[in-house]
Symmetry: C2
Subunit: 106 residues, 2 copies
């Protein structure tokens, strides 16, 4: 992986494995990628807290990785996941973080 | 939109509107977002060239935006698109940039 373009981070797109719905985008550093592969649960690097966080570690809404794809130039990951818990990925309580139309609702 | 987290840029996930397939991730600045909305074709900011580029402007494989969604904290966009031209989005000739399994193929 090429972590050089964003100061050690890469974007990771999270997609529902069953429905194809795009749920969120997080950032990972090399440690987060390793933790994700080792545990099978999506783990990100929090830019605000400067630490790793496993999505759903408190809420129970963890993201179980079914497939992990890398893009052509190795600077982005796509995680196809199964939603655990109540399945609401967004901290607002929505299923996905992408619930608002940019043009119509802005 | 919040462009402050990545020095004026936001990630933009491109998804096939019909199939749900995630095709690529690019970066946009405010000008690229405006150009995308105005023209209806996905336009990104090239970090290497330091300039806007409309995907497919030379190949004809443009990405016609069917829906543009913003995430909860307004720092990421999701573009649901129709593929024009031969429909191969990746510069390698693949349909999608995410054609390689990170775990199995690395």
């Amino acid at each position: 992986m090429d972590y050089s373009k964003l100061d050690g981070l890469i974007p990771a797109v999270v997609q529902d494995h069953a429905t194809g719905e795009v749920l969120m985008v997080g950032f990972m550093n090399a440690d987060a990628v390793e933790r994700t592969v080792q545990t099978g649960f999506a783990t990100f690097f929090s830019r605000t807290r400067g630490a790793l966080w496993t999505k759903g570690e408190t809420s129970g809404n963890r993201l179980q990785v079914e497939q992990m794809l890398v893009d052509c130039d190795e600077d982005t990951l796509l995680l196809r996941v199964k939603r655990l818990g109540d399945g609401n990925v967004c901290h607002t309580g929505e299923r996905t973080c992408f619930f608002r139309d940019y043009v119509r609702d802005s």
